[in-house]
Symmetry: C2
């Protein structure tokens, strides 16, 4: 069934469906995917009942997420349900939900479970789970990785088990799995979604993210979830220009930029490379004027994240967990560069500031910058054989995003001959979320790819049907 929010709400309004029936159906279907390693904790029907009871007397007209099932990455707190962050030794039971989870539930959304993830959100692969939970499998082909670290959250949406899900995205964990499962992955501007109730990875960079089938749904969830929270020291109030602005694009043509020749990396994956250039043509046909930029400052910042002292933040976050309770690959990462001094960190921060100053005019001058979300995809067994290098290659276009304070949207862009999806990312400076979602919507509506891994057709966008964004005229170039 079509799990987009409008489709569910229409079924509720038409009396063809109720939240109770939907939850029964969702749990039944979840059981059929038990071998995909999506969940760390799938809620029981009884555990979900209170959230259904909350909806009594409410309706889709009153609550924007009325009766909408969603999944929560297992490093985000849901009251009364264990958090593990992918590590049994870390397990605890929170009394309250994370701030964002509370907002979503108050808006009518129904939590279904806590999803599998790369341990302590350290990875872009989705295979860094202990054997107990297993490597999360790609929604299109179980031999392939789902992407991570928000692996289960992506696959749950792609398989139509939930309408949307929460991930976290410090280095790409909300975008890579979106690309690998044919989803929208919104990595909001840092601080717009509160990190209160989220297990830190790199506390100064952490960012909650949203997976959805469509940009309309990503925007709907974003509108509910983006609220200043004084309990999070890194929370930032949204800007008016980024609020209720989805669908508003002011010009007939737009300017976007891509990395210049030689700075795009596909790691030998010619099909994804061709797919990327085909997507460029689609954007040009929508009125986009494509520019090439020197991508080196972005790449330099990306390298700082894992090769520099920021790993120290992950050590702080896991200081109370014994090394031997972690996966060997985690131990290896956490113990790297572990003699970094305050001087080393300041020096790295100076380098980062240099990158920030270099990219500022690039971010200002273009409506967005476009890259592949990931240059290629790997099989689970390939990543297990080469766990650090292949993971690192997946972060080529993602690692810099929070360091440089950008917002980003991963958008499905097509399929390769192996049947697996590839995607592109639109990004810009912080507080560009709704503008990026608006362009992403144009692209998604033009490509008309099916919803996630469900083979269901993409519905028309409300934002486009309302005429708000149709000022972008189709210009056939060349």
């Amino acid at each position: 069934m079509d799990m987009t929010i409008d489709a569910i709400h229409q079924a509720y309004r038409d009396g063809k469906l109720s939240p109770h029936k939907l939850i029964d159906e969702v749990l039944k279907r979840a059981a059929t995917y038990a071998d995909r390693n999506i969940w760390i904790t799938l809620l029981s029907r009884e555990a979900i009942q209170p959230y259904l009871d909350n909806l009594i007397g409410q309706s889709p007209d009153k609550l924007p997420l009325y009766g909408i099932p969603f999944a929560i990455k297992d490093n985000i707190e849901l009251a009364g349900v264990d958090v593990t962050a992918g590590c049994e030794a870390y397990r605890y039971t929170p009394e309250q939900s994370a701030h964002v989870v509370e907002l979503l539930i108050a808006a009518g959304a129904i939590p279904i479970g806590k999803t599998n993830m790369d341990q302590f959100a350290t990875g872009l692969v989705g295979v860094r789970s202990p054997d107990k939970w297993g490597a999360c499998q790609n929604s299109f082909d179980p031999e392939y990785i789902s992407g991570g670290s928000s692996s289960g959250s992506a696959v749950a949406v792609a398989l139509g088990l939930v309408s949307f899900s929460l991930g976290t995205d410090t280095a790409g964990s909300g975008r890579v799995p979106a690309a690998f499962n044919n989803l929208i992955g919104l990595k909001p501007s840092r601080g717009l979604l509160s990190n209160h109730g989220v297990v830190p990875a790199c506390k100064s960079l952490d960012c909650m993210s949203i997976f959805s089938l469509t940009t309309d749904d990503a925007n709907r969830v974003f509108e509910v979830a983006a609220a200043f929270d004084s309990k999070d020291d890194y929370s930032r109030p949204n800007k008016d220009t980024n609020r209720k602005n989805y669908g508003h694009i002011s010009a007939d043509s737009f300017n976007f930029a891509i990395p210049q020749a030689g700075q795009l990396a596909f790691f030998g994956d010619h099909e994804t490379e061709q797919g990327f250039y085909k997507t460029l043509e689609t954007l040009k046909n929508l009125g986009g004027i494509c520019h090439e930029i020197d991508f080196e400052p972005f790449l330099t910042a990306a390298r700082l994240l894992y090769e520099g002292p920021w790993v120290a933040e992950r050590r702080i976050a896991t200081a109370n967990v014994k090394r031997e309770a972690m996966l060997p690959v985690l131990q290896q990462i956490l113990d790297s560069n572990n003699t970094a001094s305050a001087e080393d960190l300041f020096s790295a921060e100076y380098q980062l500031q240099h990158c920030k100053q270099q990219v500022t005019p690039l971010l200002e001058n273009f409506d967005f910058i476009l890259t592949p979300t990931a240059g290629t995809i790997y099989k689970i067994k390939e990543v297990l054989a080469e766990p650090i290098k292949l993971n690192s290659q997946l972060g080529y276009y993602t690692n810099f995003m929070n360091l440089l304070d950008c917002s980003a949207v991963a958008v499905p862009a097509g399929f390769n001959s192996n049947g697996l999806p590839f995607g592109v990312t639109l990004f810009s400076r912080a507080f560009s979320d709704t503008r990026l979602l608006s362009y992403a919507n144009q692209l998604q509506q033009t490509l008309k790819l099916p919803l996630g891994a469900t083979a269901l057709p993409l519905p028309d966008s409300r934002a486009i049907n309302s005429g708000v964004t149709d000022r972008i005229k189709v210009v056939v170039c060349g």
Copy 2:
């Protein structure tokens, strides 16, 4: 003679003075103060000549700083003149001037010399100079400290040798000497005055500052000096609301805040304490409504600067200088907390972020926050006897300012029975410079204290005479 910019320009226009004559007079007077330890390098008449030659064909109508003499702290580059940063071993000859110095010279200003300072801008006292240059003496009483680290820059203005001067203010170095020499000390928002060509102290926090006799002059210099500079990684473009906005105050009454009872520290100096409360009454009479706030987050941030890992930035800045070439007190400071790890720095940055989040509503809710600039003043021999503790006490109201990204103006507030001045500081969030200068102008014009240490009367403010700020009505309270 009255060295305010308007007074000099009027004399030029009236034909009573020329830049050549003024420079001759300035150099003559500077010679009479040779024992005050103001200069590290005083320029010769010949070295100044090219700057005079630059003025040919110009006039006060064309150049905002036409023929205005100024002094430069010796950690800021002037082309062809040695930089020492107060350390002989560090001496080098720059080929170009600092970005801000270039802007000032292009606007007609004439550099007179490089001023004495606490070594490597590490100190608030003005006595941390090698014997070669000596402790800079207070402009009112040579037994007292001038304040630092921008000691010579303050004293040169106070004694009427120049109209304004450049300092740097990482932890208070542009405000404490202003208070101790009866001057305006503008510590602009970080990044508005380029640090290109400035010897770093704490590179992530450094901030060039302006000393002047009046707020009108501080604003005039600020307008020239505040220009985005891509050569400085920390440079930020000014905001429109902070540009050409001096004198514009929109309400008849205003709200300001002071630290709550028990959080004001005067270190036993009852006269300065009384003076502070008297200044409060003056502001109330100008329409100010006084509120009390919890000052603890500011004080916590202040302690982080010298007790935390930020000292590592000073070690980076002086990495190429042998410890034995430095003053013993510098060696002691630089070697403190020198095993801080990247984890320690991240943990301190988390604490700082918590402070930032706590102070944001305070900075938003009030037109400004008011504190003493320093709680007391000391004699040179007192500081030499207790060099760390007394220095630290002088930073009680200043150390947090750049860490918390505030702008600040130190304003003269009166004199104690020992003949020495005391001052107050108005501060607010970044990009509030001109608003703060506008309130500071109201206070200065009301108090009508003499100009620096010259005993000359304060001239009327152009901003007030033009009627721009006279919307603040005098309200007699209580």
